[in-house]
Symmetry: C2
Subunit: 221 residues, 2 copies
């Protein structure tokens, strides 16, 4: 199966042509994103919290302090939504109504599970670390036992998943093209600046590998 | 009052020094953000949806198609969480455990209300449009009656609000500074590329005002 089966809850209904369930498309969005927004409810009140994450095959991993409210709540097996959003461009139309955004987003629904297996926990942390800076894990000091006890790792399987994508030009009403108003797209991207060391870096240390950000410039607007 | 009163639900408990309730700080984050993530639950399942927004005084506004699930659900007066997140830097420590992110986020809790007053609706749409591109509203064709009927505007008061902020260098364990591992921060920012017109722009049209993005480069890492 190269696609996720849409469910009543993940099927993109309005503007259905923007919906995508192809695994390769979903994976590429999840792999390009830097942070996710995790949604969960406590006593009926939804909370949306930004956090780091990573994909490993057909699983997402998030981590955090073992005593954080989010991690404790999610570890109880509550329903969760993890959303990753990439903003690619602002779409400026001649009419206010047709203004839009080019974006790629993925919504994953399900129940997060606390990862208890030590090897899987360590692998998840490695994957999250290397998601931002490739090979970083291989350079740094690995977590010790105390640090591992202070860390919770949660996983959410990629089962109930949909992507939503808008690309391309504004779509103005035909008569509005006669207006003296600029129309088109303004590309948006996430860029890294020059790394700033903390003044205590030893001479033999290698600068961080920021190659994943080079790809970003090539994303379609 | 220059601060929002923390509640049981918005008080930042773990790493409390990262919490901020100052209105000026909250406003500056909300005004710099481009999109928010809206969290709401339908039959117990949380959903987290990215969307455009804007602040006007002590209110947030979001808009969308009158027939979208999100807008219809929120218009019923359900509990909602709107989160805006700015990622400022990756914080690369010598130990995996102390890796972090410099960020500024705002979480707003409450019940969204459908805006029904025509003038407030129009003003909200103007504010959302100009949030991204200043003075854009004044250049484009305003929504007509049919378009206004197809649009829902929701508002959420800034009452139960908190910001969370991390700034500065990594904090490594003292003995880890002897490791030959690079430590410091990698600044991250949202940048606009050169606007790409859609090939039907009239000669007298002015290019879009992207001045709000110039400010971004100056944000602290």
């Amino acid at each position: 199966m190269n696609t996720y089966a849409p469910t009543d809850r993940t099927k993109v209904r309005r503007l259905a042509k923007r919906g995508a369930y192809d695994k390769a498309v979903v994976h590429s969005i999840l792999d390009e994103g830097l942070i996710c927004h995790v949604g969960f409810a406590v006593e009926g009140q939804p909370y949306v919290i930004p956090t780091l994450y990573a994909r490993d095959g057909e699983r997402l991993y998030v981590h955090g302090s073992a005593v954080s409210r989010m991690l404790k709540t999610l570890a109880e097996g509550v329903d969760v939504c993890i959303t990753v959003t990439l903003v690619d461009a602002f779409v400026l139309a001649r009419s206010a109504f047709h203004h839009s955004m080019n974006y790629r987003s993925v919504v994953v629904l399900g129940r997060a599970q606390l990862v208890t297996d030590d090897a899987e926990r360590m692998n998840a942390l490695r994957t999250i670390t290397n998601h931002i800076v490739p090979n970083r894990w291989e350079e740094v000091r690995e977590p010790n036992e105390l640090e591992m006890r202070q860390t919770s790792v949660l996983t959410l399987p990629l089962e109930e998943v949909s992507a939503k994508i808008r690309i391309g030009e504004p779509k103005d009403d035909e008569e509005d093209y006669a207006l003296p108003v600029w129309g088109g797209i303004v590309p948006i991207s996430t860029q890294v600046g020059r790394p700033i060391d903390d003044g205590r870096v030893r001479a033999e240390a290698r600068a961080p590998d920021l190659s994943r950000f080079e790809r970003k410039a090539k994303t379609p607007a």
